[in-house]
């Protein structure tokens, strides 16, 4: 068990479940959000150590949600990692330009996801 809490923002129910299950299996505390708006609201309440955010969200998209999180004092310093589609180079580009701390490509590798998440958390203490 780790003490890290990860907020996953993903509009597709099954993909959300997949990421949640894999991260929970690896011992992370997972908070789920199904839209950009919900993600922004939850991030301020639950003090996540890392946010995994789908870049293609309906309504408020990933880049906009990112901007709001960066604008808010409670969430300004949380690392935010984009979930992008492997085939869409432009997504990757967009994610980095928008200011995400990094990106993970979908389909996620179930085997590698916990390690990749650890990479983004390394060197940081759990916030709670």
């Amino acid at each position: 068990m780790t003490d890290y809490r990860i907020l996953v923002v993903e509009d597709n129910e099954r993909n959300l479940k997949l990421v949640r299950d894999v991260l929970q299996f690896a011992g992370y505390d997972v908070v789920e959000a199904r839209s950009g708006e919900q993600g922004v609201a939850l991030a301020k309440e639950c003090f996540p150590d890392l946010v995994l955010m789908d870049i293609q969200l309906p309504h408020m998209d990933g880049a906009e949600a990112l901007r709001r999180l960066r604008d808010s004092p409670e969430t300004r310093t949380v690392p935010i990692v984009a979930l992008t589609a492997f085939a869409m180079r432009e997504d990757r580009e967009q994610a980095l330009r928008a200011g995400f701390d990094g990106y993970l490509e979908k389909p996620i590798s179930v085997r590698d996801l916990p390690e990749q998440v650890r990479h983004f958390l390394s060197g940081k203490e759990p916030r709670r």
């Binding site: 180079r89 980095l96 990106y103 590798s109 085997r111 990479h119």
Partner: protein
């Protein structure tokens, strides 16, 4: 007195001589006067003829002298002297024929001098009307002959019977010749002038037509072209106005499209008038295919179109049809405000203009259609792209779940699977992967076709890229006991292309080769160079491709005779490969023999960085920024670092392995190297040691960025900076600043204020400007932060609990590590002279809190940090 033929008096020779002399003088004077008249007004025939008859009358001592000119079959009075006005008028209205009834007629008939001694006794003379009117009795006439043709008659008469002698005949003949010269000259001049006019007209027409032609071919603004045409048509035809009508085929009506010399009201009226094809002048002209003119609108029944024109004061017009390939395009109408016909030349000219107009209209129609079509195509293509993008997203999302959950099961995260379950889940997983691959290929192909596949150029090692492809295929090859062999020619080093796309092509060819090669076969990958190209071939010992299939194997969904059912593939791979190779500027081919195997090859031109043999150490960075080489195997980390550095104006060359990295550093001599430690093959430690051991590269600062925290080892090997991952933008940029790749850009500001709102405000104002704002609520914390964080500037409140602003300023001033930091005093209290003296020399600026202006604060902070140590005060 009798006079001989020479005009010499027989009786008195002296007298005769004297008279002869006088007459010769008079004749000379006359001749010279005629010649002068000719010279003075060569074109004024009337003046010359006037001079001639005047002298003829005088020298022949005649009562009347006249010139009659040939006009067709008759001779008409042209000039007369000595006759009453009525007489002249009568004779002018009664030309004479070439017959014996008149003297003029006789000269005309015989082309010889003729004399009638007395018209009253001459039996043939028939013009007693003339005799009664003018009282002539003796008449003498001589022909005026020009180039063998008779052009007129010069005659003199006396009202008494007094025959003219030879001398008079001679004088008259001389004058006739002179008058003839004048006529000839005038005729010549007139011809010349007419020719000149004709020529000028032609030139004018040609110019106008040229202008019209140019307008037709260069402008697609139909109204502009038609206006040009109608303007020239009116001006050249010497008419007052005109219009161009376009024929609307479906409704069989003409519509006035444009007009010239036409009032706005009339144009408006014309445009709203229905001009049908039947029972209108323009309709008839179009149907008959020829110009139709109305010399006087008052004389004809008026159709609605003509009615409009007539009511607006137009009196004559010509309608010229505009036809193309037997179809009516429209009509050109030019009109005058006065009645009158239109010559054939004018009509010819107008037909040329009409033809140009129809061409312009057809061009415009074609162009309009083309525009519509291409707009439709563009929309269709955009829809297709949008559809593909959204479809690929919609399909990929569930596929991601299929693949992901299969992996969860295969990873045994929630319990074991039996052998059968494991096999089925593996099938689900690989089917999902295959579908995703297909989807990605479709998406890539559609991007290539839409011209939207963007390439990411980078420098990489061909060998590494090929090894990477082989590594991915090793497991599958091993299952079929296929040997994978890589042969890279020694001259093949670095390559400039899109590395991912390059690998995609190699992997695709390799995957095909392994797929179609039977058990225990062999797949050889070769890389060689051929002049300016790198050649990569993948040779298998597989089933081969029949010659008939070789040509279409690069087309979509063709697997040749290689058995689509038997071999799973997207059928798009080779198509995509060829398109990608094409995008990289290369070509692709196949050599194959059924049963023996196939060789797929591609050649790509060498990019900016050629082989390892041709180092370019003197190359300067293209965009002027410093050059940094990043050696990092993880693509995501590389992308991120690249983004950070490029954002700071640094030119970045990214490489993914140590050996290539060394090569690039040697070639490019960057300002710094950012080095990862965990690298495939030669690791970061080796790279660092090698760089530091080579005098050529030893001075280049190396910033190590690694997951492993072994600073001691890093610094011992010569690293300038050591960062532990994950690193932020600031971490990297400040490390590069410290190794002086980037100019010093300390953007940290310390705000010391007990009011948290003030600190928030400062943050709100300065953070968007790129400042990192540190806050301290009291003096002790502030001074400590200033020492540890070395901010570029301190923003200080004077009224603080405990240690106050004055003390803080003194403390910062007294410490050598913080002495240089400029201080901006931000205060709400009014400073006394004593206060100012206490701060003298220790602060840079004083800003009043009361009228706090964000822009002023930004400007103040920038000014303070850009021009430090300036001591000033601001209110």
């Amino acid at each position: 007195m009798a006079v001989d033929a020479n005009g010499r008096g027989a009786g008195d020779v002296d007298d005769g001589l004297r008279r002869d002399l006088a007459e010769a003088k008079a004749q000379l004077a006359a001749t010279s006067e005629v010649l002068t008249a000719l010279g003075r007004s060569a074109s004024d025939l009337d003046a010359v003829l006037g001079t001639v008859v005047g002298w003829a009358q005088r020298l022949c001592r005649a009562d009347v002298a006249q010139i009659h000119l040939v006009e067709g079959e008759v001779l008409t009075l042209a000039r007369s002297t000595g006759l009453s006005d009525e007489g002249v008028a009568y004779m002018a209205l009664h030309p004479v024929g070439r017959d014996r009834t008149s003297l003029i007629g006789r000269v005309g008939l015989y082309a010889q001098p003729q004399q009638i001694t007395d018209v009253l006794t001459d039996t043939d003379y028939g013009r007693l009307d003339f005799q009664r009117l003018a009282g002539l009795r003796t008449v003498l006439g001589v022909p005026m002959v020009l180039d063998g043709d008779m052009v007129g008659v010069l005659l003199v008469w006396r009202t008494e019977v007094d025959p003219f002698g030879d001398r008079e005949t001679e004088v008259l003949t001389t004058f006739a010749a002179q008058a003839t010269i004048a006529i000839r000259q005038v005729a010549l001049l007139q011809t010349l002038e007419a020719r000149q006019q004709e020529l000028a007209q032609k030139i004018h027409q040609l110019e106008a037509l040229g202008e019209v032609g140019q307008a037709v071919s260069s402008s697609l603004d139909l109204d502009e072209v038609l206006t040009t045409i109608v303007t020239h048509a009116v001006q050249l035809s010497g008419t007052d106005g005109g219009s161009i009508l376009e024929f609307d085929e479906p409704v069989e009506e003409f519509r006035v499209r444009t007009a010239y010399g036409t009032s706005d009201e009339l144009l408006e009226r014309l445009q709203t008038t229905r001009i049908g094809r039947d029972a209108t002048l323009v309709g008839r002209a179009a149907t008959e295919g020829r110009p139709l003119q109305v010399p006087d609108l008052r004389d004809v029944p008026l159709d609605p179109h003509l009615q409009c024109l007539f009511e607006a004061g137009w009196q004559s017009l010509v309608a010229v049809p505009m036809l193309r390939e037997g179809r009516i395009v429209g009509a050109l109408v030019v009109r005058r405000r006065k009645p009158g016909g239109f010559s054939e030349e004018t009509c010819d000219l107008l037909e040329t203009f009409a033809s140009q107009s129809s061409l312009a209209i057809l061009n415009a129609r074609l162009f309009g259609e083309l525009e519509r079509k291409s707009a439709e195509l563009e929309i269709a293509s955009r829809h297709k792209s949008e559809f593909l993008a959204s479809m690929s997203h919609e399909l990929r999302t569930p596929l991601n779940a299929v693949i992901g959950f299969s992996e969860v099961l295969l990873e045994r995260m929630f319990g074991d699977l039996n052998e059968r379950q494991d096999e089925y889940v593996r099938d689900i997983w690989s089917s999902g992967k295959h579908l995703l691959e297909l989807l990605n290929d479709i998406l890539d192909l559609s991007k290539v076709e839409a011209g939207r596949m963007d390439l990411e150029w980078s420098t990489f090692s061909v060998r590494e890229a090929l090894e990477n492809g082989l590594a991915l295929m090793r497991e599958r090859a091993a299952r079929k006991s296929i040997s994978l062999i890589l042969e890279v020619a020694p001259e093949i080093g670095l390559f400039h292309a899109d590395e991912l796309r390059f690998r995609q092509v190699v992997l695709n060819l390799l995957s095909n080769a392994v797929k179609f090669t039977p058990e225990a076969g062999e797949v050889v990958v070769r890389a060689t160079s051929d002049g300016p190209e790198v050649l990569v071939t993948v040779t298998d010992t597989g089933i081969g491709v029949a010659p008939a299939d070789q040509a279409r194997i690069f087309e979509s969904f063709q697997q040749g005779g290689r058995g689509a059912q038997q071999h799973e593939g997207t059928g798009l791979g080779l198509t995509l490969c060829r398109r990608i190779v094409g995008l990289l500027g290369g070509r692709m081919w196949l050599e194959s023999e059924v049963g023996r195997g196939s060789t797929f090859g591609f050649a790509i031109p060498l990019g900016a960085l050629e082989s390892a043999q041709a180092p370019r150490s003197d190359e300067s960075p293209p965009h002027g920024g410093p050059l940094v080489v990043i050696i990092e195997d993880d693509r995501r980390s590389l992308d991120l670092l690249r983004l950070y550095l490029e954002g700071a104006g640094v030119e970045v060359v990214g490489v993914r392995d140590g050996a290539t990295g060394l090569e690039v550093v040697r070639q490019r001599r960057p300002s710094a190297v950012v080095l990862d430690i965990r690298l495939p093959g030669m690791d970061g430690w080796d790279v660092l040691a090698t760089l530091k051991a080579d005098p050529a590269t030893a001075p280049i600062p190396v910033v190590v960025v690694s997951m492993v925290d072994e600073r001691g080892r890093g610094f011992a090997l010569g690293a300038a900076e050591y960062l532990v991952k994950p690193v932020s933008r600031d971490d990297v940029l400040s490390a590069l600043t410290r190794v002086t790749v980037l100019p010093d850009s300390n953007r940290t500001l310390l705000a010391i204020d007990d009011d948290p709102l003030v600190i928030e405000l400062v943050k709100a104002v300065l953070e968007p400007e790129g400042w990192q704002v540190l806050g301290a609520a009291d003096g002790e914390t502030g001074v400590a932060l200033a020492r540890s964080r070395q901010p570029a500037v301190v923003l200080l409140d004077l009224l603080l609990p405990g240690m106050d602003g004055f003390e803080i300023a003194a403390a910062l001033h007294d410490d050598s590590t913080t002495q240089q930091i400029p201080i901006i005093v931000l205060t709400s209290m009014t400073m006394t002279r004593a206060d100012k003296e206490r701060l003298q020399g220790r602060i840079s600026y004083v800003a009043q809190k009361g009228n706090f202006d964000p822009a002023l604060l930004v400007a103040l902070v920038h000014r303070t940090t850009e021009a430090p140590a300036a001591s000033a005060q601001e209110g």
